[in-house]
Protein backbone atom coordinates (compact mmCIF):
# COMPACT_ATOMS: atom_id res chain seq x y z
CA UNK A 1 0.00 0.00 0.00
CA UNK A 2 1.41 3.39 -1.06
CA UNK A 3 0.19 6.02 1.38
CA UNK A 4 -0.13 9.64 0.23
CA UNK A 5 -0.58 12.13 3.06
CA UNK A 6 -1.50 15.75 2.37
CA UNK A 7 -1.18 18.26 5.22
CA UNK A 8 -3.49 21.27 4.80
CA UNK A 9 -6.95 21.69 3.31
CA UNK A 10 -6.46 25.01 1.56
CA UNK A 11 -6.43 25.55 -2.18
CA UNK A 12 -3.27 23.54 -2.89
CA UNK A 13 -3.95 20.58 -0.61
CA UNK A 14 -7.56 20.19 -1.72
CA UNK A 15 -6.77 20.27 -5.45
CA UNK A 16 -3.87 17.82 -5.06
CA UNK A 17 -6.16 15.43 -3.15
CA UNK A 18 -8.90 15.56 -5.76
CA UNK A 19 -6.54 15.23 -8.72
CA UNK A 20 -4.82 12.25 -7.06
CA UNK A 21 -8.16 10.57 -6.39
CA UNK A 22 -8.73 10.62 -10.15
CA UNK A 23 -5.19 9.72 -11.23
CA UNK A 24 -4.97 6.88 -8.69
CA UNK A 25 -8.58 5.72 -8.92
CA UNK A 26 -7.64 2.15 -9.85
CA UNK A 27 -4.92 1.87 -7.21
CA UNK A 28 -7.18 3.30 -4.46
CA UNK A 29 -10.10 1.05 -5.39
CA UNK A 30 -7.88 -2.02 -5.37
CA UNK A 31 -6.31 -1.14 -2.02
CA UNK A 32 -2.84 -0.50 -3.46
CA UNK A 33 -2.85 3.22 -2.60
CA UNK A 34 -4.55 5.63 -0.23
CA UNK A 35 -4.92 9.41 -0.24
CA UNK A 36 -5.44 11.11 3.15
CA UNK A 37 -5.78 14.82 3.81
CA UNK A 38 -5.34 16.17 7.32
CA UNK A 39 -6.67 19.63 8.16
CA UNK A 40 -6.77 21.42 11.50
CA UNK A 41 -10.35 22.69 11.21
CA UNK A 42 -11.97 20.62 8.49
CA UNK A 43 -13.15 23.88 6.94
CA UNK A 44 -12.01 25.28 3.62
CA UNK A 45 -11.73 29.05 3.72
CA UNK A 46 -11.68 31.26 0.61
CA UNK A 47 -9.23 33.85 1.91
CA UNK A 48 -9.31 36.24 -1.09
CA UNK A 49 -12.89 36.99 -0.07
CA UNK A 50 -11.85 38.69 3.19
CA UNK A 51 -11.08 41.94 1.36
CA UNK A 52 -14.69 41.97 0.14
CA UNK A 53 -15.98 41.84 3.71
CA UNK A 54 -14.48 45.33 3.95
CA UNK A 55 -15.25 46.57 0.47
CA UNK A 56 -18.12 44.51 -0.92
CA UNK A 57 -20.51 43.50 1.87
CA UNK A 58 -19.33 39.89 1.64
CA UNK A 59 -20.32 37.67 4.57
CA UNK A 60 -17.89 35.39 6.39
CA UNK A 61 -20.20 32.36 6.27
CA UNK A 62 -20.19 32.49 2.48
CA UNK A 63 -16.40 32.27 2.45
CA UNK A 64 -16.12 28.81 4.00
CA UNK A 65 -17.40 25.32 3.38
CA UNK A 66 -16.80 21.96 5.05
CA UNK A 67 -13.66 20.45 3.56
CA UNK A 68 -15.43 17.11 3.27
CA UNK A 69 -17.97 18.59 0.84
CA UNK A 70 -15.14 19.57 -1.53
CA UNK A 71 -13.22 16.29 -1.49
CA UNK A 72 -13.71 13.26 -3.69
CA UNK A 73 -15.12 10.30 -1.75
CA UNK A 74 -11.87 8.37 -2.34
CA UNK A 75 -9.97 10.90 -0.22
CA UNK A 76 -9.94 10.21 3.51
CA UNK A 77 -10.26 13.40 5.58
CA UNK A 78 -8.75 13.56 9.06
CA UNK A 79 -9.60 16.63 11.13
CA UNK A 80 -6.79 17.42 13.55
CA UNK A 81 -3.82 19.71 14.03
CA UNK A 82 -0.53 18.26 12.81
CA UNK A 83 2.14 18.96 15.44
CA UNK A 84 5.27 17.18 14.22
CA UNK A 85 6.66 15.46 11.16
CA UNK A 86 8.95 12.52 11.96
CA UNK A 87 10.87 12.02 8.74
CA UNK A 88 12.75 8.95 9.98
CA UNK A 89 9.55 7.14 10.94
CA UNK A 90 7.60 8.68 8.02
CA UNK A 91 4.79 9.79 10.28
CA UNK A 92 2.89 12.97 11.04
CA UNK A 93 1.77 13.34 14.64
CA UNK A 94 -1.49 15.07 15.56
CA UNK A 95 -2.48 17.00 18.67
CA UNK A 96 -4.90 14.19 19.52
CA UNK A 97 -1.90 11.88 19.97
CA UNK A 98 -2.75 10.01 16.78
CA UNK A 99 -0.08 9.40 14.17
CA UNK A 100 -0.51 9.16 10.39
CA UNK A 101 2.00 7.23 8.29
CA UNK A 102 3.08 8.22 4.78
CA UNK A 103 5.15 7.14 1.83
CA UNK A 104 4.58 10.41 -0.05
CA UNK A 105 4.05 13.65 1.87
CA UNK A 106 2.53 16.84 0.45
CA UNK A 107 2.97 19.96 2.59
CA UNK A 108 0.25 22.47 1.82
CA UNK A 109 0.65 24.09 5.21
CA UNK A 110 0.21 27.70 4.09
CA UNK A 111 1.49 30.60 6.16
CA UNK A 112 0.36 32.58 9.17
CA UNK A 113 0.28 36.21 10.15
CA UNK A 114 2.28 37.35 13.18
CA UNK A 115 1.11 40.92 13.96
CA UNK A 116 2.51 40.57 17.52
CA UNK A 117 6.03 40.90 16.09
CA UNK A 118 5.41 44.65 15.82
CA UNK A 119 4.62 46.40 19.07
CA UNK A 120 1.23 48.18 19.11
CA UNK A 121 0.19 46.54 15.82
CA UNK A 122 -2.93 44.99 17.32
CA UNK A 123 -4.14 48.20 18.97
CA UNK A 124 -3.20 50.65 16.24
CA UNK A 125 -3.18 48.95 12.84
CA UNK A 126 -5.92 47.44 10.73
CA UNK A 127 -5.56 44.67 8.16
CA UNK A 128 -7.70 42.37 6.04
CA UNK A 129 -6.11 38.95 6.49
CA UNK A 130 -8.86 37.50 8.69
CA UNK A 131 -12.63 37.92 8.61
CA UNK A 132 -12.57 39.67 12.00
CA UNK A 133 -9.86 42.10 10.88
CA UNK A 134 -11.71 42.84 7.65
CA UNK A 135 -14.88 43.65 9.63
CA UNK A 136 -12.92 45.88 12.01
CA UNK A 137 -11.43 47.75 9.05
CA UNK A 138 -14.94 48.23 7.64
CA UNK A 139 -16.04 49.76 10.96
CA UNK A 140 -12.99 52.01 11.07
CA UNK A 141 -13.66 53.23 7.55
CA UNK A 142 -17.33 53.87 8.40
CA UNK A 143 -16.21 55.98 11.36
CA UNK A 144 -13.55 57.85 9.35
CA UNK A 145 -14.45 61.46 8.63
CA UNK A 146 -11.21 62.67 7.04
CA UNK A 147 -7.48 62.80 7.82
CA UNK A 148 -4.35 60.81 7.07
CA UNK A 149 -4.72 57.21 5.89
CA UNK A 150 -1.45 55.27 5.77
CA UNK A 151 -1.33 51.90 4.00
CA UNK A 152 1.91 49.95 4.35
CA UNK A 153 3.66 46.60 4.50
CA UNK A 154 5.20 45.38 7.74
CA UNK A 155 7.23 42.49 6.35
CA UNK A 156 7.89 40.55 3.18
CA UNK A 157 6.89 38.10 1.82
CA UNK A 158 3.15 38.32 2.46
CA UNK A 159 -0.05 36.85 1.04
CA UNK A 160 -1.50 38.33 -2.14
CA UNK A 161 1.15 40.90 -3.14
CA UNK A 162 -1.29 43.22 -5.00
CA UNK A 163 -3.65 43.42 -1.99
CA UNK A 164 -2.22 46.56 -0.30
CA UNK A 165 -2.26 48.46 -3.60
CA UNK A 166 -5.79 47.23 -4.30
CA UNK A 167 -6.87 48.35 -0.83
CA UNK A 168 -5.33 51.78 -1.43
CA UNK A 169 -7.27 52.13 -4.69
CA UNK A 170 -10.52 50.92 -3.13
CA UNK A 171 -10.20 53.21 -0.09
CA UNK A 172 -9.46 56.21 -2.31
CA UNK A 173 -12.49 55.47 -4.48
CA UNK A 174 -14.67 55.11 -1.37
CA UNK A 175 -13.48 58.45 0.04
CA UNK A 176 -14.46 60.14 -3.23
CA UNK A 177 -17.90 58.51 -3.18
CA UNK A 178 -18.46 59.64 0.39
CA UNK A 179 -17.31 63.20 -0.26
CA UNK A 180 -14.31 62.80 2.07
CA UNK A 181 -11.54 62.90 -0.49
CA UNK A 182 -10.75 66.63 -0.09
CA UNK A 183 -10.43 66.16 3.66
CA UNK A 184 -8.12 63.16 3.38
CA UNK A 185 -4.61 62.18 2.29
CA UNK A 186 -3.92 58.60 1.28
CA UNK A 187 -0.33 57.33 1.62
CA UNK A 188 0.93 54.07 0.12
CA UNK A 189 4.24 52.85 1.55
CA UNK A 190 6.28 50.35 -0.45
CA UNK A 191 9.23 48.49 1.11
CA UNK A 192 11.18 48.61 -2.15
CA UNK A 193 12.18 51.32 -4.60
CA UNK A 194 8.95 51.25 -6.60
CA UNK A 195 5.23 50.64 -6.08
CA UNK A 196 5.29 46.88 -6.71
CA UNK A 197 7.90 44.12 -6.82
CA UNK A 198 7.33 43.21 -10.49
CA UNK A 199 8.51 46.11 -12.64
CA UNK A 200 5.80 45.86 -15.32
CA UNK A 201 3.06 45.87 -12.67
CA UNK A 202 4.73 48.79 -10.94
CA UNK A 203 4.78 50.64 -14.28
CA UNK A 204 1.03 50.01 -14.60
CA UNK A 205 0.17 50.94 -10.99
CA UNK A 206 2.33 54.06 -10.56
CA UNK A 207 0.34 56.26 -12.99
CA UNK A 208 -2.88 55.02 -11.33
CA UNK A 209 -1.53 56.13 -7.94
CA UNK A 210 -0.66 59.53 -9.42
CA UNK A 211 -4.04 59.88 -11.14
CA UNK A 212 -5.82 59.14 -7.86
CA UNK A 213 -3.56 61.45 -5.87
CA UNK A 214 -2.27 58.65 -3.62
CA UNK A 215 1.13 59.57 -2.21
CA UNK A 216 3.74 56.90 -2.88
CA UNK A 217 6.54 56.45 -0.33
CA UNK A 218 9.25 54.07 -1.55
CA UNK A 219 11.78 52.21 0.62
CA UNK A 220 9.45 52.48 3.60
CA UNK A 221 9.97 49.29 5.62
CA UNK A 222 7.66 49.54 8.60
CA UNK A 223 9.73 49.17 11.78
CA UNK A 224 7.76 50.59 14.69
CA UNK A 225 4.45 52.19 15.58
CA UNK A 226 4.55 55.07 18.05
CA UNK A 227 1.06 54.74 19.48
CA UNK A 228 1.27 57.84 21.69
CA UNK A 229 2.17 60.13 18.78
CA UNK A 230 0.13 58.17 16.19
CA UNK A 231 3.03 57.84 13.78
CA UNK A 232 4.41 54.85 11.91
CA UNK A 233 8.18 54.72 11.53
CA UNK A 234 10.34 53.08 8.91
CA UNK A 235 13.68 51.32 9.15
CA UNK A 236 14.94 53.98 6.77
CA UNK A 237 14.29 56.68 9.38
CA UNK A 238 11.10 58.26 8.04
CA UNK A 239 7.82 58.61 9.89
CA UNK A 240 4.26 59.27 8.82
CA UNK A 241 1.41 60.44 11.06
CA UNK A 242 -1.84 58.53 10.68
CA UNK A 243 -5.49 58.79 11.62
CA UNK A 244 -6.18 55.38 10.08
CA UNK A 245 -3.36 52.86 9.74
CA UNK A 246 -3.69 49.80 7.47
CA UNK A 247 -0.70 47.45 7.52
CA UNK A 248 0.01 44.05 6.04
CA UNK A 249 1.17 42.11 9.10
CA UNK A 250 4.43 40.11 9.04
CA UNK A 251 3.97 36.54 7.77
CA UNK A 252 5.75 33.30 8.70
CA UNK A 253 5.66 29.68 7.57
CA UNK A 254 3.68 27.09 9.53
CA UNK A 255 4.98 26.26 13.02
CA UNK A 256 4.71 22.56 12.11
CA UNK A 257 7.42 22.72 9.42
CA UNK A 258 9.66 24.95 11.57
CA UNK A 259 9.36 22.66 14.61
CA UNK A 260 9.99 19.59 12.46
CA UNK A 261 13.22 21.02 11.02
CA UNK A 262 12.04 21.14 7.41
CA UNK A 263 12.22 24.93 7.11
CA UNK A 264 15.42 25.91 8.97
CA UNK A 265 15.95 29.35 7.39
CA UNK A 266 14.44 32.48 8.91
CA UNK A 267 10.79 32.95 8.06
CA UNK A 268 9.94 29.27 8.09
CA UNK A 269 9.55 28.84 4.33
CA UNK A 270 10.11 25.35 2.93
CA UNK A 271 13.17 25.14 0.62
CA UNK A 272 11.40 24.01 -2.53
CA UNK A 273 12.68 23.07 -5.98
CA UNK A 274 11.19 25.59 -8.43
CA UNK A 275 10.29 22.92 -11.01
CA UNK A 276 9.73 19.61 -9.19
CA UNK A 277 8.33 21.22 -6.00
CA UNK A 278 10.29 18.68 -3.94
CA UNK A 279 11.44 19.90 -0.52
CA UNK A 280 15.25 20.00 -0.23
CA UNK A 281 16.81 16.78 -1.46
CA UNK A 282 13.98 14.61 -0.22
CA UNK A 283 12.58 12.29 -2.90
CA UNK A 284 9.08 11.99 -1.43
CA UNK A 285 8.18 15.32 0.22
CA UNK A 286 6.52 18.10 -1.80
CA UNK A 287 5.46 21.64 -0.97
CA UNK A 288 3.12 24.05 -2.69
CA UNK A 289 1.29 27.30 -2.14
CA UNK A 290 2.19 29.80 0.56
CA UNK A 291 4.44 27.30 2.37
CA UNK A 292 7.33 27.42 -0.13
CA UNK A 293 10.32 29.74 -0.42
CA UNK A 294 9.75 30.22 -4.17
CA UNK A 295 10.05 33.77 -5.53
CA UNK A 296 6.37 33.87 -6.47
CA UNK A 297 3.17 35.40 -5.16
CA UNK A 298 1.89 33.83 -1.98
CA UNK A 299 -1.61 33.37 -3.34
CA UNK A 300 -4.22 30.71 -4.00
CA UNK A 301 -3.52 31.13 -7.69
CA UNK A 302 0.06 29.93 -7.24
CA UNK A 303 -1.12 26.85 -5.34
CA UNK A 304 -3.80 26.29 -8.00
CA UNK A 305 -1.20 26.06 -10.78
CA UNK A 306 1.32 24.09 -8.70
CA UNK A 307 -1.18 21.42 -7.63
CA UNK A 308 -1.35 19.54 -10.97
CA UNK A 309 2.47 19.24 -10.99
CA UNK A 310 2.55 17.77 -7.47
CA UNK A 311 -0.35 15.41 -8.32
CA UNK A 312 1.40 14.22 -11.49
CA UNK A 313 4.71 13.60 -9.71
CA UNK A 314 3.12 11.79 -6.75
CA UNK A 315 0.91 9.67 -9.05
CA UNK A 316 3.96 8.76 -11.15
CA UNK A 317 5.90 7.73 -8.04
CA UNK A 318 2.98 5.57 -6.83
CA UNK A 319 2.58 3.99 -10.26
CA UNK A 320 6.32 3.40 -10.67
CA UNK A 321 6.69 5.51 -13.82
CA UNK A 322 8.47 8.69 -14.79
CA UNK A 323 6.43 11.89 -14.39
CA UNK A 324 5.18 13.44 -17.61
CA UNK A 325 7.92 15.79 -18.88
CA UNK A 326 5.58 18.76 -19.27
CA UNK A 327 2.82 18.12 -16.73
CA UNK A 328 5.31 17.26 -14.00
CA UNK A 329 7.40 20.43 -14.41
CA UNK A 330 6.26 23.69 -12.80
CA UNK A 331 7.10 26.76 -14.88
CA UNK A 332 6.11 29.36 -12.29
CA UNK A 333 2.71 30.00 -13.83
CA UNK A 334 0.47 32.35 -11.82
CA UNK A 335 -2.64 34.26 -12.83
CA UNK A 336 -4.60 36.70 -10.70
CA UNK A 337 -6.95 39.64 -10.95
CA UNK A 338 -6.00 43.09 -9.71
CA UNK A 339 -8.62 45.59 -8.51
CA UNK A 340 -8.07 49.23 -9.44
CA UNK A 341 -11.24 50.68 -7.86
CA UNK A 342 -14.23 52.39 -9.50
CA UNK A 343 -15.38 49.01 -10.84
CA UNK A 344 -12.21 48.47 -12.86
CA UNK A 345 -9.54 45.80 -12.74
CA UNK A 346 -6.72 44.19 -14.67
CA UNK A 347 -5.12 40.77 -14.95
CA UNK A 348 -1.65 39.56 -13.97
CA UNK A 349 -0.47 36.47 -15.82
CA UNK A 350 3.17 35.39 -15.63
CA UNK A 351 5.68 32.61 -15.10
CA UNK A 352 9.37 32.30 -14.18
CA UNK A 353 10.49 33.53 -17.61
CA UNK A 354 7.71 35.87 -18.64
CA UNK A 355 6.80 38.88 -16.50
CA UNK A 356 3.16 40.02 -16.59
CA UNK A 357 1.95 42.51 -19.18
CA UNK A 358 -1.20 43.76 -17.47
CA UNK A 359 -3.90 44.96 -19.88
CA UNK A 360 -5.23 48.49 -19.47
CA UNK A 361 -7.59 48.46 -16.44
CA UNK A 362 -11.24 48.05 -17.44
CA UNK A 363 -14.59 46.76 -16.19
CA UNK A 364 -14.18 43.33 -17.77
CA UNK A 365 -11.36 42.24 -15.47
CA UNK A 366 -13.18 43.57 -12.40
CA UNK A 367 -16.23 41.52 -13.39
CA UNK A 368 -13.89 38.60 -14.08
CA UNK A 369 -12.79 38.73 -10.44
CA UNK A 370 -16.39 38.95 -9.20
CA UNK A 371 -17.38 35.94 -11.33
CA UNK A 372 -14.30 33.97 -10.31
CA UNK A 373 -15.12 34.54 -6.63
CA UNK A 374 -18.65 33.17 -7.22
CA UNK A 375 -17.56 30.21 -9.37
CA UNK A 376 -14.65 29.27 -7.10
CA UNK A 377 -16.46 26.59 -5.08
CA UNK A 378 -17.62 24.70 -8.14
CA UNK A 379 -14.38 24.77 -10.06
CA UNK A 380 -11.04 25.31 -8.32
CA UNK A 381 -11.02 23.00 -5.26
CA UNK A 382 -12.35 20.12 -7.36
CA UNK A 383 -9.54 20.52 -9.87
CA UNK A 384 -11.93 21.29 -12.73
CA UNK A 385 -10.01 24.30 -14.03
Amino acid sequence: MERVLIVGGGVGGTIVANLLSRKLKREIDSGQASVTLVDALGNHVYQPGFMYITFGSEREEKLQRPERSLLDQRVELVVGRATRIDEAARTVELDSGASLGYDHLVLATGCRIVPDEIEHFNEEAHHFYTADAARALRKALDAFTGGQIVIGIAGMPYKCPPAPLEVSFLIEAELRRRGLRDKSTVHFCSPIGRAFTIESVSDMATPVLEEKGIELHTFFNVETIDASRKVVQSLEGEELPYDLLVLVPPHRGAQLVIDSGLAPAQGGWLPTDPHTLLVGDRPNVYALGDATNLPLSKAGSTAHFEAPIVAERVAAAVQGREPHAKHGNYTGRVMCFFEIGDGKGTLLRFDYDHPPRPPRPNRVWHLGKVLFNKAYWHTVPRGRV
Partner: protein, 85 residues
Protein backbone atom coordinates in the same frame (compact mmCIF):
# COMPACT_ATOMS: atom_id res chain seq x y z
CA UNK B 1 36.43 39.15 -9.05
CA UNK B 2 36.42 42.60 -10.62
CA UNK B 3 35.91 45.66 -8.47
CA UNK B 4 33.49 47.89 -10.34
CA UNK B 5 32.69 50.42 -7.65
CA UNK B 6 34.20 51.76 -4.42
CA UNK B 7 37.07 50.58 -2.27
CA UNK B 8 36.55 47.66 0.04
CA UNK B 9 38.52 47.54 3.26
CA UNK B 10 38.24 44.86 5.89
CA UNK B 11 36.53 41.49 5.86
CA UNK B 12 32.73 41.28 5.78
CA UNK B 13 31.27 40.07 9.06
CA UNK B 14 28.24 38.67 7.23
CA UNK B 15 27.91 37.11 3.81
CA UNK B 16 24.39 36.90 2.39
CA UNK B 17 24.12 34.40 -0.42
CA UNK B 18 21.02 35.60 -2.28
CA UNK B 19 22.07 34.07 -5.60
CA UNK B 20 19.09 32.60 -7.42
CA UNK B 21 16.73 34.90 -5.54
CA UNK B 22 14.88 37.55 -7.53
CA UNK B 23 14.21 41.19 -6.74
CA UNK B 24 13.36 42.20 -4.06
CA UNK B 25 14.71 39.04 -2.38
CA UNK B 26 18.37 40.17 -2.12
CA UNK B 27 17.35 43.62 -0.83
CA UNK B 28 15.01 42.08 1.75
CA UNK B 29 17.83 39.75 2.88
CA UNK B 30 20.11 42.77 3.28
CA UNK B 31 17.47 44.66 5.27
CA UNK B 32 17.11 41.68 7.59
CA UNK B 33 20.89 41.51 8.06
CA UNK B 34 21.17 45.26 8.70
CA UNK B 35 18.55 44.94 11.44
CA UNK B 36 20.65 42.27 13.16
CA UNK B 37 24.13 43.77 12.53
CA UNK B 38 26.22 45.98 14.81
CA UNK B 39 27.06 49.55 13.81
CA UNK B 40 30.28 49.53 11.76
CA UNK B 41 29.77 45.98 10.53
CA UNK B 42 30.49 45.23 6.88
CA UNK B 43 27.93 43.06 5.09
CA UNK B 44 28.23 41.57 1.61
CA UNK B 45 25.24 40.51 -0.49
CA UNK B 46 25.82 38.05 -3.32
CA UNK B 47 23.11 38.52 -5.93
CA UNK B 48 22.60 37.14 -9.42
CA UNK B 49 19.66 39.51 -10.00
CA UNK B 50 20.95 42.43 -12.08
CA UNK B 51 18.33 44.68 -10.50
CA UNK B 52 20.20 44.49 -7.17
CA UNK B 53 22.96 46.71 -8.60
CA UNK B 54 20.38 49.48 -8.80
CA UNK B 55 17.95 48.69 -5.94
CA UNK B 56 20.47 48.02 -3.19
CA UNK B 57 22.60 51.20 -3.65
CA UNK B 58 19.39 53.29 -3.78
CA UNK B 59 18.13 51.73 -0.56
CA UNK B 60 21.53 52.09 1.15
CA UNK B 61 21.57 55.81 0.33
CA UNK B 62 18.00 56.31 1.55
CA UNK B 63 18.62 54.37 4.77
CA UNK B 64 21.82 56.32 5.50
CA UNK B 65 24.32 53.45 5.37
CA UNK B 66 27.47 53.26 3.22
CA UNK B 67 27.92 51.43 -0.06
CA UNK B 68 31.48 50.22 0.36
CA UNK B 69 31.79 48.68 -3.08
CA UNK B 70 30.53 46.31 -5.75
CA UNK B 71 32.56 43.39 -7.08
CA UNK B 72 31.56 41.41 -10.12
CA UNK B 73 31.84 37.65 -9.74
CA UNK B 74 31.08 34.84 -12.17
CA UNK B 75 27.41 35.42 -12.91
CA UNK B 76 26.70 37.40 -9.76
CA UNK B 77 27.55 40.65 -7.99
CA UNK B 78 28.95 41.11 -4.50
CA UNK B 79 27.59 44.28 -2.97
CA UNK B 80 29.35 45.51 0.19
CA UNK B 81 27.42 47.63 2.69
CA UNK B 82 28.61 49.15 5.96
CA UNK B 83 26.01 49.74 8.69
CA UNK B 84 26.45 53.32 9.88
CA UNK B 85 23.81 53.76 12.58
Amino acid sequence: MTLTHGTIEGTPARVIDARGSFCPGPLMELIRAIREAQVGELIVVQSSDRGSRVDIPKWVEKAGHRLAGIEQGDGFDMIYVEKLH
